[in-house]
């Protein structure tokens, strides 16, 4: 096939895949709970097939910002050699120009990695790097907290940090349980509108973030969207529907991408009448934290819980 044509087809496939990830996303992780005890060689049954690691990796390339956060959380940070351009946390992670959405095999291979972690293999990276003898571990977007916990354990197994991965899972679990326990459950189904971007893309309660917010008794107004399921739980909501729904809370997960704030929301035509706006229940979130399923989900849940707390105790 013509080289240029092939490249353009490839980039088309990649961009549509990236769009699908950006708009839609949460696919089932398809991961099994690891059974080995962290010794090598090890075989891991991941979303992209069985991954075999002959020895403990010491030059990991992470092309997933969530995986980067998880790797550092489970004490495998020192084994990480390079992370992609969107892995901005923790700050000491060795950020490079690598792009997880359009991975360049040569550029990745140049780091001579002994393990590459991705959030989804849409471009045949596993096969291509496999030819070079470099194992690829795919940890796709989690749909539930349990799937996220499994990913910690899988990464722990792959890096020889299983004990610490288990500690981290226990820690995240207990922090979440603590937040949930200390947050008064809303009396009757409190609702929220969760904003992914200023054109009103949102989430249903069955997405990862929807389930997390469900822990403190909140329900998404997007659940009734017919397109909700077909769009992977991330439908674009109609403006008048949002206003008519008059949600109890508005969560802004577009504060960084699109500079949305409580003030910009209040200036939208018709929005000043919303209960959430007039009672100060517009909750700005960090987009980067909100779009990942890593350890900082605790921070996000805490922000949401505090807003519920304030509302319940009538401070605002």
């Amino acid at each position: 096939m013509n080289k240029a044509l092939r490249r353009s087809l490839l980039s088309l496939a990649m961009s549509s895949a990236a769009i699908a990830t950006a708009i839609g996303g949460a696919r089932s992780a398809g991961a099994a709970v690891p059974t080995s005890n962290g010794t090598f060689p090890v075989s891991i049954h991941a979303a992209n097939g069985t991954v075999r690691l002959s020895s403990r990796p010491t030059a990991i390339v992470s092309l997933s910002s969530t995986a980067t956060e998880m790797l550092y959380a489970i004490g495998a940070g020192r084994q990480v050699k390079a992370v992609d351009e969107y892995s901005d946390y923790p700050p000491q992670a060795p950020k490079t120009g690598l792009d997880g959405n359009q991975p360049n095999v040569e550029a990745i291979a140049a780091y001579q990695p002994d393990l590459v972690v991705v959030a989804g293999d849409t471009t045949g990276l596993t096969k291509q790097l496999g030819k070079l003898g470099i194992p690829v571990l795919s940890e796709p977007a989690a749909a539930t907290l349990d799937q996220a916990y499994q990913q910690y354990l899988q990464l722990g197994e792959a890096t020889g940090q299983l004990p610490q991965a288990k500690v981290e899972v226990t820690s995240v679990r207990s922090q979440i349980a603590q937040i949930v326990a200390s947050t008064p459950k809303p009396t009757k189904g409190a609702t929220y509108y969760y904003e992914l971007d200023p054109t009103y893309y949102s989430v249903t309660s069955s997405t990862f973030i929807g389930r997390v917010l469900g822990l403190i008794g909140l329900k998404s107004i997007a659940d009734g969207a017919k397109g909700g399921a077909s769009s992977g739980g991330y439908p674009q909501l109609n403006a008048e529907f949002i206003v008519k729904s008059n949600p109890d809370y508005i969560f802004l997960a577009d504060t960084i991408c699109c500079a949305q704030t409580e003030e910009t929301v209040a200036t939208r035509p018709g929005w000043s009448n919303l209960h959430a706006v007039s009672t100060g229940r517009v909750v700005p979130l960090n987009d980067n934290i909100a779009s990942r399923w890593g350890p900082r989900i605790v921070v996000l849940l805490k922000d949401a819980a505090q807003a519920v707390d304030r509302a319940r105790s009538g401070q605002r």
Binding site: S11, S15, A18, I19, A22, I23, Y86, D99, N101, Q102, D197, P198, T199, Y200, Y201, I221, A222, G224, A225, K226, G227, G228, S231, P235, Q236, L237, N238, A239, E240, F241, I242, V243, K244, S245, N246, I256, C257, C258, A259, R268, P269, G270, W271, N273, L274
Partner: protein, 367 residues
């Protein structure tokens, strides 16, 4: 520029003077009936558009809100503040904006088809879409604090692209057919699209925003969007309507038009400039909505006659009605979810157009 032309005189029997020409120019064109039909259609579309929506506001409440906004009356509708806001600040501007954009895309398409004597011409032919897309992409990837500049950047990109196309194409010979301008448009569009695609892939975290803009939507339409494009759309509409008879003359060919005393190049430039200005403004607030520019004008030709005295005003009114209805589908078919309006215009519009084409083809030429 056109006031000295004899063809402007009312009711000039153009067809009789030209004798047999490739396309049948009707001797007498009934303008009133098609305009009335299209206007009735537009009124129905507007009524449907404002009374139906995902928010389920009762029709009496909707009417009440309208009455309460009548000047001097000071009536209270009894509608809740929320319902008032939904009708007056969210639904109505959306209907009005869809109407303006539809009118502009349809009449822009009709104009381009006439000027370039090409039935496949649409308002994006000379690079409007590519230029607007590049302008919008530059703003989106430049960071979150620039988004207010998005319509301006898309507008500048669109107008800039067509300006370059015209300057290059008009100097390249092949004057009579306008083919060089069309070819220049293809090249300019390809170049700008390449830059745009490069930018969006380089900033893949912004891909969803770029993609959403390109698909086009009226979901965040406001009165300020309406006010923003109203001057351009009005100016464009006035110029295009004023040139509808000259477009009839251009249809017979540039040399023939010249022999009739029409300065074809100048007329063409004026029409292209007006159509581009209006289309660029429309695209700047709506994104790239395809298909409207092609099907509306052709549907009018197939059903009401091919003279631009009919095609221009009826496309304008019919385009407004069509896009208001398409947007109604976009916001209600999957309510409370949205469907990209470009999907609706093609999905509903294409079969309808094929139907009109098949049922009328035997009777009239397509151009």
């Amino acid at each position: 520029m056109s006031t000295t032309l004899p063809q402007r005189t009312r009711g000039h029997p153009l067809g009789a003077e030209l004798g047999p020409v490739p396309m049948s120019l009707p001797r007498r064109v009934s303008v009133r009936v098609p305009v009335l039909v299209a206007t009735a259609l537009l009124l129905a579309a507007v009524l449907l558009g404002i009374s139906i929506g995902p928010a389920d506001v009762p029709i009496l409440t909707v009417l009440g809100v309208f009455v309460s906004h009548l000047p001097l009356l000071h009536l209270h509708s009894g509608a809740s503040r929320l319902d008032q806001a939904i009708i007056w600040q969210i639904r109505l501007p959306r209907v009005v904006l869809a109407g303006l954009v539809g009118a502009m895309l349809a009449s822009g398409g009709a104009s381009y088809q006439g000027v370039f004597r090409n039935p496949l011409a649409d308002p994006y032919l000379l690079g409007v879409a590519a230029g607007a897309g590049l302008g919008a992409t530059i703003v989106i990837v430049s960071g979150p604090h620039m988004t207010e500049l998005l319509p301006l950047a898309a507008f500048i990109g669109a107008v800039g692209a067509v300006t370059v196309t015209y300057l290059v194409g008009a100097n390249a010979g092949l004057r009579a057919s306008g083919a060089s301008i069309v070819l220049a448009g293809v090249a300019v569009a390809a170049l700008l699209t390449a830059v745009q695609t490069y930018l969006q892939q380089e900033h893949s975290q912004d891909l969803q925003q770029v993609y959403a803009w390109i698909l086009g939507s009226f979901n965040v339409a406001t009165w300020s969007d309406v006010l923003l494009i109203l001057p351009y759309v009005t100016l464009s509409a006035v110029v295009l309507l004023a040139h509808r008879r000259l477009l009839d003359v251009l249809r017979v060919g540039e040399d023939e038009a010249g022999s009739l005393g029409v300065h074809a190049t100048r007329v063409r430039l004026t029409i292209v400039a007006a159509a581009t200005l209006g289309t660029a403004a429309a695209v700047a607030v709506s994104g790239l909505i395809g298909f409207v520019g092609i099907i509306v004008a052709h549907t009018v030709r197939l059903t009401a006659g091919s003279s631009y005295r009919v095609v221009m005003p009826v496309s304008m009114i019919g385009g407004a009605a069509f896009l208001i209805l398409a947007d109604l589908v976009a916001r209600t078919a999957q309510a409370p979810g949205e469907i990209p309006i470009g999907v609706v215009t093609a999905f509903v519009g294409a079969p309808f157009f094929l139907f009109v084409l098949c049922s009328k083809r035997a009777q009239q030429g397509v151009r």
